[in-house]
Amino acid sequence: MTVTALALALLAATAPAPPPYAGAYQPVGVDEIGAWAEADEDERQLALSPLLIRDAALDAYVRRALCDTVGAARCAGVRVYVLRVPLFNASMAANGTMRVFSGLLLRARSEAELGAVLGHEFGHFERRHTLAQFRAQRTGSDLLGWGAVLAAMVPDADLRRRFATLGRSVYGALYRFSRDQEREADRLGIGYLNASRLRPQAAAQLWHSAIAEAGASAVARGAHRPRLDRIGFYASHPPEAERAATLDALALPDATDRDDGADRHADALAPWLPLFLDDQIKLNDFGASAYLIAACAARGWTAALWRARGDLYRARGNPHDLVNAARFYAQATALDPSLAAAQRGLGLALVRTGRLAEGQAALRRYLALDPAAGDATMIAALIAAPEDR
């Protein structure tokens, strides 16, 4: 934890207020104009991507989270694209294209937590990090190019070793450069939150959750909990524990009673939650998925959450998992008997645990609820199977 302690010692009590914003920024110089041209071309493709979630209500909510965090003036320079990618991430391109992954929406528990990440990404944009990163990489690879050619001119083993050392220092410096950019973006992000009407303490909370999720994932696999407080040589980001501690320390202390928009977040996510949970379950990461379902259920168990939990256990498919899955689906159908997916899962789990008659009854209810289901023919065959099969 020395790293964290050091980071805390170096930082002021809270993050500085955001600098004045210049407004519609336009690229300057060959490198930046080139980066924008590439990003523009990527954005053309992005707008047509099958991964793009085209839902005006969800777009409006994510955009609101960004604008509430960074303010209307900054917000105007950004186009937000929500992508169906079940990973905890978001990214910012040089020209103001912000990509938000569905996996981030699933993990954030409130508008403030989402805003913390979007503000961090906006920080990269405001400080033009993509350009600085490109230039640092170019300088580093130029140096290595000359080093490689010059080292190859002298057949000397010692010189080759020194060239290898040069390579390691260049890479080490570039990854450190990247981590420092992330630290700056974290400081800017928490600065926006402090200046907003949202609760800045949410920023650190998101990272505490990420650490807990990584732990849950490791435990379910029988692995050691990952050390998220140490800096790796090839780490592009600072360790999670450092980020959580820094954001905790920089959040405005007398802002703890502000609204964090947990209800707004839950309401906006509700129509998409079943799909996002499906995508997460298919990642085959039992511990992380179980953790996320439980985290969503902190606001109360719903039929959709019981159904997802049933799917998670049924996908792993050990005999004890199927018994548990049937129990979870039964909770879902008790809360909402018209949830077709839960009746289907209940029927399949029961059939596989030997409770054929009950299972077939649930499958009949499934087909009655969704006669045009894609798997209707297959399910009908299961129902038609004699009970003593």
Binding site: V30, S49, P50, Q137, G145, L174, Q181, H237
Partner: protein, 252 residues
């Protein structure tokens, strides 16, 4: 929280490997093919739909990174469009630009452009390079048959009803920076390592808008013509469309 920086760093890791990769010999492989049995007599007056070309122009840094250049890319796009219009005569056919589409139609165009890119990369890799054959196409390619398709769904492309064929074009150019050229000279004079200064790759393909069959493909990783000038772009377009079915042979 990520920023896509991790991805760029991975690319960075590959850069030194590229740095000292010797310039690859461009020869010793086929670079153009025509669907077996397909003929287009000269001056048959068909209509060809031009899909928005993919054009990328920049520089190569000393260490081998691609440096995108917005100005050069804009110039190249303009010059290529002018050169294509001027070459219509030689093609013996009418080339019309694909209509600008929105919504689902635009997504369909993007899907087919991506599919064309994937199929043509397969052709270049598995058919043009002898010895690297797809197991399912081994016999056909050994017999010299050229048989690839994007599927008949392509008939739904906007503008497809008014045209017979679709023409796809793609170019990727990286001009060696001064530093790169210096490094190239030193590497050659010193340890004798042949370094490539830049990259000038391009490919063009003609697709039947009824069946989706790939009728003709021309690919080259070492093309001539400086896209930043009108004359260079004319030369590049001429090379891209060399051996175009039914075209009047142009001096190369």
């Amino acid at each position: 929280m990520g920023t896509g920086l991790a991805t760029r760093l991975t690319i960075m890791l590959l850069a030194p490997a590229l740095t000292l990769a010797p310039a690859s010999p461009a020869a010793a492989r086929q670079r153009s093919a025509q669907k077996t049995g397909f003929t287009l007599p000269a001056g048959s007056g068909r209509t060809i739909l031009l899909i928005r070309p993919s054009i990328r122009v920049g520089a190569r840094s000393t260490g081998g990174m691609f440096e995108p250049n917005g100005d050069w890319t804009d110039q190249a796009r303009r010059n290529i469009e002018t050169a294509l219009a001027a070459q219509q005569q030689a093609l013996g056919n009418r080339v019309i630009p694909a209509p600008i589409a929105d919504g689902d139609a635009a997504r369909l165009v993007a899907d087919y452009a991506a599919l064309f890119a994937a199929v043509s990369q397969s052709v270049i890799r598995y058919q043009f390079f002898a010895g690297d054959r797809l197991p399912t196409k081994k016999r056909a390619t050994q017999a010299g048959r050229f048989d690839w398709t994007l599927g008949p769904g392509i008939a739904r492309l906007p503008g497809a009803r008014d045209a017979d064929y679709a023409l796809f074009l793609s170019t990727s150019d990286a001009y060696g920076s001064t530093g790169r050229k210096l490094l190239q000279i030193v590497a050659m004079l010193g340890p004798g390592i042949p370094l490539s200064a830049g990259e000038h790759a391009g490919y063009a393909g003609l697709v039947d808008l009824r069946t989706g069959d790939l009728l003709w493909l021309n690919a080259d990783r070492a093309m001539g013509g400086d896209l930043r000038t009108p004359e260079g772009a004319a030369r590049r377009v001429q090379q891209l469309l060399a051996d175009f079915p039914g075209s009047t042979p142009a001096p190369r």
